[in-house]
Structure formats: structure tokens, C-alpha cells
């Protein structure tokens, strides 16, 4: 186990190094931030002073080395636009995205897996057909369109729910959270619904396919022959046997939603990292872009590690193989 962790840690370091280089070069290629930051009618002196202050007069490789040097000390640099440490800036936006993502992905899983299992258990029932129709809908309709329809229906026409922003927040561990207030939940409901529809559809399909397959196995027949109830069989045998793909997709979806909830956050003007990255791209705020993309890579590494660890917890056969 220790050897496995050390191996993964080294792997992660290499991945992060490669990502940092790629991101740095990529962001460099997007455009020159000076053109955006300095007004076109500024004097040549001001211009040059700014270029020097941001370190943009150095060659690319030198800029990269300097960046790495600061990175080792935990310094991602300062945002050009907000003139504050990038890490603080991103850190202040993460809770909003984190809670929205958690609510969306957890909700999609907790609802999608049981419904999918039912659809796999009774594939021919009317309820199952209804569930599958809903999942096709969730798969095929684009997020931005659903977002607009949700706003139009529930905010504009019915006036039940707010159309955007985070609403009231409460403080926990020194961070502002919406999920601690009723008003915050009201604000979170529509964007979370918007984000979760696709994930819900995916969880339904995954659980359904897994259940259909497992129901035909001798494991289920043997449990039935022992007199176990259908509910016990689904809950204790089938759910455990289909959990590996579900955990995998849960991890991936959680990661990608954290990183790229851009569309939903923009539509619902949710002040999360997705909106931050869009703003930083349009203003060519390089340090924010670089730090953000590296954080995303880091985030995925952590998620993959957690997913791998949960495999071992879920399937004892993998445990022994690794120990051997």
C-alpha cells in the first residue's frame, strides 16, 4: 500500500510538471495581455514599465523557470486584473462551485442509480420506459438550452425561484456557503438541476446496464434459491456488483463539473470558478489561467487516486492482487 502511494505521488509530480509546461506555452500562445491591460493611448514609457513589471520582457523559457521557482514556494503569482494573489482569488470562488457541483452530482447519483436499477430490474414496465425516455432527454438536450428554459419557466413565468446569484450565505470553517440557508438552497436549485440532468441520465444508463447484466448471473439465482428477497438481492448483491463503474463515473463527472461548470455558472451568474476562468480568458489574465488549469489537473489526479482507492474497498479481488 505504501509503495503504491509513493508510486502514485511520483506519477502525480511528473504529470503536474508536464501540465505546467503545456499550460504555460498554451496560455502564452493565446495573446499578449499587455494589449488588453494597457490602454492603447498610454505612453511608451508606461507601456515598457508595465511589461517589465509583469516580467513579460523575459524570454518564454526564462518566464517559465521563474514561474516554477515561485511555484515551489507555493506562489502562483498575482492576477493582472484583480491585483491579488491568484491562489486567494481562486480559493474565494471554489466553495461556490464546490457546493453546486456536489449537490448536482450527488443528487444525480442518489436519484439516477436507484431508478436505473429499477429500469434494469423491470426493463419492460411502463415506469422503466418513462425513466429511459427521461434519460434520453437528459443526454441529448444541450445544457444552455435547458438552463434558459428553467429560468424562463420557474423564474420568469412562475416566479417560484430566483434566476441567478448565490443568495444568502452562512459561514462555516471561515467560508461562505449557500447550502446553509433556505434562501441559498432556493438559488442553488435551478443551476444544480441544470447541471445534474446529464449526469442523472448517465447514472440511469450505467445502473440499468449493470443491473440487467448482473440479474442474469448465477450469483442472483443462487441468492434466490437461498430464499433471499428481491429487495435484498438488489441492495446487497447487485448494488455492490455494479458500484465500480458508478464510482468511476462519479469521480470523473465530479472532476469535470468542478472544472467546467462554465455554461451553467454563466447562465445563472453563479460566482464560481467557471465564471472566473471565462473572465480571465477574455482579459488574458495569464496567472489566473495557468493556476486554474494546473489546479484542475491536480484535482483530477486526486480524484483518480480516490477512485482507485475506492476500487480496492469495493472489490476485494483487487486488494489481494495489489498486495501480491
Amino acid at each position: 500500500m505504501l509503495g503504491f502511494m509513493i508510486q502514485r505521488l511520483l506519477q502525480a509530480l511528473v504529470v503536474m510538471l508536464v501540465i505546467s509546461a503545456l499550460v504555460f506555452v498554451g496560455v502564452y500562445a493565446v495573446g499578449n495581455p499587455i494589449d488588453v491591460l494597457i490602454s492603447p493611448d498610454a505612453t511608451q514609457q508606461i507601456r515598457e514599465a508595465a511589461i517589465k513589471a509583469y516580467g513579460l520582457d523575459q524570454p518564454l523559457w526564462k518566464q517559465y523557470i521563474d514561474f516554477l521557482g515561485r511555484l515551489i514556494q507555493g506562489d502562483f503569482g498575482r492576477s493582472f486584473l484583480y491585483n491579488m494573489p491568484v491562489l486567494d482569488l481562486i480559493g474565494s470562488r471554489i466553495p461556490a462551485t464546490l457546493e453546486l457541483t456536489l449537490v448536482a452530482v450527488l443528487g444525480a447519483t442518489l436519484l439516477g442509480v436507484p431508478l436505473g436499477m429499477y429500469a434494469g430490474y423491470r426493463p419492460d414496465s411502463i415506469a422503466s420506459r418513462l425513466i429511459m425516455t427521461l434519460s434520453i432527454f437528459g443526454f441529448s438536450v444541450p445544457t444552455f438550452w435547458i438552463g434558459l428554459v428553467l429560468i424562463f419557466t420557474f423564474a420568469v413565468q412562475l416566479g417560484w425561484l430566483p434566476a441567478g446569484n448565490r443568495g444568502e450565505t452562512a459561514t462555516l470553517f471561515g467560508v461562505e456557503w449557500s447550502f446553509l440557508t433556505a434562501n441559498g438552497w432556493k438559488h442553488m436549485l435551478l443551476p444544480a438541476l441544470n447541471l445534474s440532468l446529464f449526469k442523472f441520465a448517465m447514472m440511469v444508463r450505467l445502473a440499468r446496464a449493470g443491473t440487467r447484466e448482473i440479474m442474469l448471473t448465477d450469483t442472483v439465482r443462487f441468492a434466490r434459491a437461498a430464499g433471499e428477497s428481491e429487495f435484498t438481492i438488489l441492495r446487497r448483491h447487485v448494488l455492490r456488483l455494479i458500484s465500480i463503474p458508478i464510482v468511476t463515473v462519479f469521480g470523473l463527472e465530479f472532476g469535470s463539473t468542478m472544472a467546467f461548470a462554465v455554461v451553467t455558472e454563466t447562465i445563472f451568474s453563479w460566482p464560481g470558478v467557471g465564471k472566473l476562468i471565462i473572465d480571465s480568458i477574455s482579459s488574458l489574465d495569464r496567472p489566473v489561467m495557468v493556476a486554474y488549469l494546473m489546479l484542475v489537473a491536480f484535482f483530477f489526479i486526486v480524484i483518480n487516486l480516490l477512485v482507485d482507492l475506492s476500487y480496492a474497498a469495493l472489490d476485494p479481488r483487487l486488494r489481494t492482487r495489489r498486495a501480491a
Partner: protein
């Protein structure tokens, strides 16, 4: 005296695109308490479907279309799912062919045994462990109390089947249906398990239906033999008697084709032709196209008639002294 189990005219058909597939078609037999009978036939002869029908474990498109199964005089065909579930595992248990497919790979042996116990009434954790360990010990698993926390993949094939047998024995059923439980095992282990099962059956007073395609295995454990062909019983009688003097030409052919009965240096004897498709059975006796004793009379289905000494056969031209 009422027999433990009485099967009368059992018919199980599978609805298919090409019409009904008559997997079991008019099977009748009975078992006394503590008796071991062997149910022999090739793949597709209906022996396994007979076993599953007794437990009411036929999945759609299959269905028991007629006949009766009586356990100590109580009709099982037509019972509700709940009533059947109370019988499975408690009155009649089943052991399958491949223990690595029947046991759930992600649950510990102890958990699987507890689920089988809980299916028939609530038990405390410690009570379940004690009873499970006791039965595991009985089927020859050393250090049983500690092995409860092991997973199936940590056992050898033979040990795994012993675990499956222990699960079947947990609730002290009156009858165990064994569907080729030794086929997937090494030959040396096969003999061990056979002997142990026979001793266990004797000790617990459990009756057994031993389903197999292997005449040699069956004859070493069963006292009575039923031979199936194309969904029907074609011969029945005490094992030694049937083996010495088969009355149905098909049984005679099976016996002649056993390698043990072959003459050294000669080719093995084969029954000419192949098993007919259940969709396309010949008129009358299903075996007649392959039979060297056939006559025009064979296009009429022969009845299962008595051949003396507790023997029955379904043939117009029986061998060994039975005149039709």
C-alpha cells in the same frame, strides 16, 4: 406415506419466436425423505429446468405450464412469490455447477451466509456467525470461524463449492437440488465432495436430487436413477439395476459409450446421430431416429410403463426382459 416431494406431469415451456420450446414436458417422479436420486441426461434434456421448476425459479420467457409439484402434500405450483421464497433455502435448497459464479465475489463468506440466514427470520450477528461457522466446519472447512471474513477468491475451487454447499445446508432443508455441483471441479476433489455430500445427506436426513450428465458420478451417490431425454423421463429405476440391465435403448447406448466400458484398442462406442432440437422433435418417441430397435409403432409416443422391480421405461421395444 406421503412422499417428501411428488412431481406430477410437470411441463415447463419457453415462449420463443419459433413457438413454445418444451424444455420439460410431462415429467413425473417422487422422492422419499432422505433419499438420493440421480437425474441424468445430456445438455438440453431438461434436467436442470426440472430442478429450477421445483423451486419456481424459472425466468421469463419460461413458464411452468402444467403439472404439479407437491412438497409433503403441499402444492408448490401457483404459490405466490412470497410463499415460494419462504420455501426456498428453508425447505428446498439448491447448489449450482460453478461456485466461482454463484458466490458473490465482493461479499465475505460470513456476509453471504448471514444473508441466507436472514432470509428466513432475523438472527443476531453473533448467532449468525456461530451457526455459519458450525456448518462450514461440517462441510470440511478448517478454521471456519476465521474464514468467515474471507472472500470467495481466497478459497480453492473445491473449498468454494463446500462454502456453497454450506450455504445450502444452513437452514437444514429437507431437500437439496444439486445441479452438477462437481462438474467444474478436479476429478480428485469430485470424489471427495461426492462422498462428503452423501455422508452429510445421511447425517442430516436430507433428500437430494443429483443432476448430472455424468452417469458414473451419479451412480456413485444416488440410489435411484432417472434418465431424461428431450424433456421427458425415459427410464427410471434403482441405480445398480438400471446400470446392469438398461431397458431403454438410449440408456443402453449411454452406458456402452462410457470409456470404462470400452474394450481396449477399440474405438469408443457412440450413439449414432445427435440429440434432436426441441423445436423439431420427431413424431412419437424422440429417440427413434437414432434407435436400432425402432419400428413403425415408435411414431406413437410410448407411455412410461412399469418394467418390474420399481422400474419404469418409455419404450415400445425395451431391452433386458421387459416386454412392451
Amino acid at each position: 406415506m406421503i412422499p417428501l416431494l411428488e412431481v406430477t406431469d410437470l411441463a415447463t415451456h419457453f415462449a420463443t419466436r419459433n413457438g413454445a420450446l418444451k424444455a420439460v414436458d410431462g415429467v413425473s417422479f417422487s422422492i422419499a425423505e432422505g433419499e438420493i436420486i440421480g437425474l441424468v441426461g445430456e445438455s438440453g434434456s431438461g434436467k436442470s429446468v426440472t430442478g429450477f421448476s421445483i423451486l419456481g425459479l424459472i425466468d421469463p420467457p419460461g413458464r411452468i405450464v402444467g403439472g404439479s409439484v407437491k412438497l409433503k402434500g403441499r402444492e408448490l405450483v401457483g404459490l405466490s412469490a412470497r410463499e415460494l421464497r419462504a420455501i426456498r433455502g428453508r425447505e428446498i435448497a439448491m447448489v449450482f455447477q460453478d461456485p466461482s459464479a454463484t458466490l458473490n465475489p465482493v461479499l465475505t463468506i460470513g456476509t453471504q451466509m448471514r444473508l441466507a440466514l436472514e432470509a428466513h427470520g432475523s438472527v443476531s450477528e453473533s448467532e449468525a456467525r456461530a451457526r455459519s461457522a458450525e456448518v462450514l466446519e461440517r462441510v470440511g472447512i478448517p478454521d471456519a470461524a476465521r474464514r468467515l471474513d474471507a472472500h470467495p477468491h481466497q478459497f480453492s475451487g473445491g473449498m468454494r463449492q463446500r462454502v456453497a454447499i454450506a450455504i445450502a445446508l444452513l437452514n437444514r432443508p429437507k431437500l437439496i437440488i444439486c445441479d452438477e455441483p462437481t462438474t467444474a471441479l478436479d476429478v480428485s476433489i469430485q470424489a471427495q465432495i461426492l462422498t462428503e455430500m452423501r455422508d452429510l445427506a445421511r447425517e442430516f436426513g436430507t433428500a437430494m436430487i443429483w443432476i448430472s450428465h455424468d452417469l458414473a458420478t451419479v451412480s456413485s451417490i444416488a440410489s435411484r436413477l432417472l434418465v431424461m431425454y428431450a424433456g421427458r423421463i425415459i427410464e427410471e429405476g434403482p441405480v445398480a439395476n438400471v446400470l446392469r440391465q438398461p431397458q431403454h435403448p438410449y440408456t443402453a447406448g449411454l452406458l456402452a459409450s462410457l470409456p470404462a466400458n470400452a474394450e481396449r484398442g477399440m474405438d469408443l462406442v457412440q450413439i449414432p446421430g445427435s440429440t434432436p432440437s426441441l423445436f423439431d422433435l420427431p413424431p412419437g418417441c424422440a429417440f427413434q431416429p437414432r434407435c436400432d430397435r425402432r419400428s413403425p409403432a415408435c411414431v406413437v409416443m410410448p407411455e412410461l410403463t412399469s418394467g418390474g422391480l420399481g422400474r419404469r421405461r418409455r419404450c415400445h421395444h425395451p431391452l433386458n426382459g421387459g416386454s412392451a
